[in-house]
């Protein structure tokens, strides 16, 4: 068990060695490198864990029939709206959205709605919009937001078209046993 853990973290250990090497060999690079990773690290350790707890709760409490009705293939506009809002109120990096998306798929959400969630999560998150307007100004933010609304829909529809039903089914089935 321990040996396996060590093996899984071998790249992390290697990177820590790289940082040690930078510290002794290229000192001026060390502080910027630590600063550069610190923000993402804080995000990983503070924002991401509660998201996983929420995924766990969703997994345990929300019934498949309910999710089917809300976000399933026949959910139409309601499912789209829920996917979009869920992604937009979310916090945290996009990689945290993958397990959320998978849990939704497992519970019966349609693939298109999951793609909309990923799109909204990546780019129309409300807290991010605030940061964006503060640093880039309101015109920039609003223009990008409007383009993104179309972009998210387009990416979701085209991806769904390009993927065969079989592929989509495999993705949802891969996780439905767990």
């Amino acid at each position: 068990m321990k040996k396996q853990t060590l093996k899984r973290y071998r790249m992390v250990i290697m990177m820590i060695m790289v940082y040690t090497f930078i510290y002794f060999g290229f000192k001026p690079l060390f502080v910027p490198a630590v600063n550069g990773s610190m923000n993402s690290l804080i995000e990983l350790l503070i924002v991401v864990p509660p998201i996983f707890v929420l995924i766990g709760l969703l997994d345990v409490w929300v019934e498949r029939e309910k999710m089917m009705k809300l976000m399933g293939p026949k959910s139409k506009g309601l499912g789209l709206l829920i996917a979009f809002l869920l992604g937009s109120v979310a916090a945290g990096p996009l990689y945290a959205a993958f397990p959320v998306a998978i849990t939704l798929l497992k519970k019966g959400s349609s693939f298109r709605n999951v793609l909309v969630l990923l799109g909204a999560w990546s780019t129309t998150k409300i807290p991010m919009l605030m940061f964006e307007s503060a640093s880039m100004g309101l015109p920039f933010t609003i223009t990008r937001f409007v383009i993104n609304l179309f972009g998210i829909m387009a990416i979701a529809l085209i991806s769904e078209k390009l993927l065969s039903e079989k592929t989509i089914l495999t993705i949802s089935e891969k996780f439905s046993q767990s």
Partner: protein, 157 residues
């Protein structure tokens, strides 16, 4: 913003525990398992990005994405956005800095758009979840979309 997340999480966790302790335990177990499964990969990515960002200065990046860099600059900006990973509260101030140091608006729009939507570095993780085909299609389309964003932003603003 983080406080809200924690208040919501703890409230729901409390409600869940009140209704069923065993289900709550199961939820927490699942949460920990999937978080830990992701941890080594994400930690590696974060540490690699730290070094890459430190090695590049904002002046260097701004000059590649300069307002005269045209389509080539847009392309490079999208690619830089695609391979990096940083939280939005870091990315937007950085984008503003780059703009003030001479980067062009369409280039910055492409950079931000692909930074948020495309994740080359998290691609292995995305493939684990959605399979190769779906992950490549989503990232490919998002990369193309960042050109569209750059074009429209360049025209509108």
């Amino acid at each position: 913003m983080n406080q809200t997340l924690y208040v919501i999480t703890f409230s729901l966790l409390g409600l869940s525990a009140f209704k069923s302790l065993s289900k709550t335990k199961l939820a927490l177990k699942k949460a920990f398992k999937s978080f830990e499964a992701m941890l080594p990969q994400i930690l590696t990515i974060i540490l690699v990005i730290g070094v890459v960002i430190a090695a590049l200065s904002p002046e260097q990046i701004a000059s590649i994405m300069g307002s005269n860099s045209g389509w080539f600059g847009v392309l490079i900006a999208s690619l830089i956005g695609a391979i990096t990973l940083m939280p939005g509260f870091v990315a937007f101030p950085l984008a503003a800095t780059l703009l003030s140091q001479g980067a062009g608006l369409p280039q910055i729009a492409a950079f931000i758009s692909s930074l948020m939507m495309v994740g080359f570095i998290t691609l292995p993780l995305e493939i684990q979840h959605f399979g190769k085909k779906a992950a490549l299609i989503r990232n490919g389309l998002a990369l193309l979309f960042s050109f569209v964003v750059a074009t429209i932003m360049g025209v509108v603003l």
